[in-house]
Amino acid sequence: MTDVQQELAPAPPLKLAIRGVGKSFAQGKAVVHALDQIDLDVAEGEFVCLVGPSGCGKSTLLSIIAGLETPDRGEVLADGQPVRGPGRDRVVMFQEHALFPWKDVLGNVEFGLRFKPNLDAKARREVARFYLRMVGLEAFAHAWVHELSGGMRQRVALARCLAPNPRVLLMDEPFAALDAMTRERLYGDLQQIWSARRKTIVLVTHNMREALTLGDRIVLMTPRPGRIHAEHVSGLPRPRDINAPHLAERAAELTAELRRALGPDEEATR
């Protein structure tokens, strides 16, 4: 097998164990408990969605799993090994596409491959093209970022995250800024890529229907302090359609449950 073929084979998914994680921030003189005593297990190849209102610490938890932030208490284990910092086995896709304007589309997808010493320039190019094809943008390899639509930019960002062949994909509200039509098309793409590549995915969202469309398991979180309120196994057959009536019904039930947990003062999720 050549380096490229080896590189393109899906990396085995990773198992995550979050043990007693807590994190506080100083905000002026007040202390904000972003996360308090979080315990969560994510199995190999599982698609877990974290859902909650703003301030429930879901994005902070994602950053801690990514190793971009360190917890005050507790630890995150990736396949049993404590996470000590960022690593390309756990790549984050952000809400903003954050594509680099000085590189064309292909250059952006290649970016993460630079840090893999076994790939030369030609191999990087080949790998990047493979993932561009996967998100259906091969024809735009040499376009500049500002020439793409919002949905295309987010596809390129997805390809850039997939290219280093991570074992966990961490997604921080990656579809929140897109229009509904584009978003629904991307749900289809993501489900297809996930079933083809079997990655462990943790997705943060405040959109309950999005979580039910994508996730195997839905984790409901409540704020002040950020805690896990409940977990629900989706059990819906795939592929799922966000506009299916039974899905909307489940979403309404879970939203109602979350709203009860939040109490009258808290703003409900969308």
Partner: protein, 256 residues
Amino acid sequence: MRRWAVRTGFLLALGLLWQGLASAGVWSPVLLPPPASVLRWLGAAAADGTLAAATLVTLRRLTVGFAIGVGLGLPIGLLCARSRAFDDTVGLLARGAQSLPSVCWAPLAVLWFTRADLAMLFVVVMGTVGSIAIAAADGVRAVPPIYVRVARTMGAGGAATWLRVVLPASLPFVVSGMKQGWAFAWRSLMAAEIIVPGMHAFGLGHLLHYGRELHAMDQVLGVMIVIVVVGVAIDRVLFASAERALHRRWGTGRSP
């Protein structure tokens, strides 16, 4: 094409107006030499090589001084963005140097370096360093933090993040800082050449200075025209293509 026609027509009309005023004889030819005599001087100076030699001398001083200025200014700017302590000390000096017209250094520079050439080089460097350092520091500070997070999550270390993300992301600032630094260098060199006497190598500023000494205003105007042409040409060659490339990538620079 149309815009070129407008520009050429405008310049021709300006020349005709000038000729008209000069031939009206209201002012003495010393105050307002007619365009023909300026052109005559330009032709003679071009033919005997004075102009080319002076332009070369000036350009050499400018490029050497600018290169040193960039070489010092870029690292100073990057260090300012990285370290608060550095910014509060060397960065403070850089900001001070930028607000001082660098030709003010000329009297001291002549005493310190005794050689006129080195003194003028010093003036050019002092005119360049500040604006480049400040632009580089601002450029680094303006890099969206999310770019750095992207690089780190992909496994980039500190050095790779700087080299592959922070530096390219700050390029628009750095290029406009270099352009400003170049403009400062050009102005300060002209001022320095006019007030620091040239012993061996005459630059364009010296030609202008001797035109004044000889009351040859055709020469003064001729040199002024050459300075404008050289300045515009360098701007086109050096910066226009870099700016176009940045605009194409960032999707900026088009009128809304």
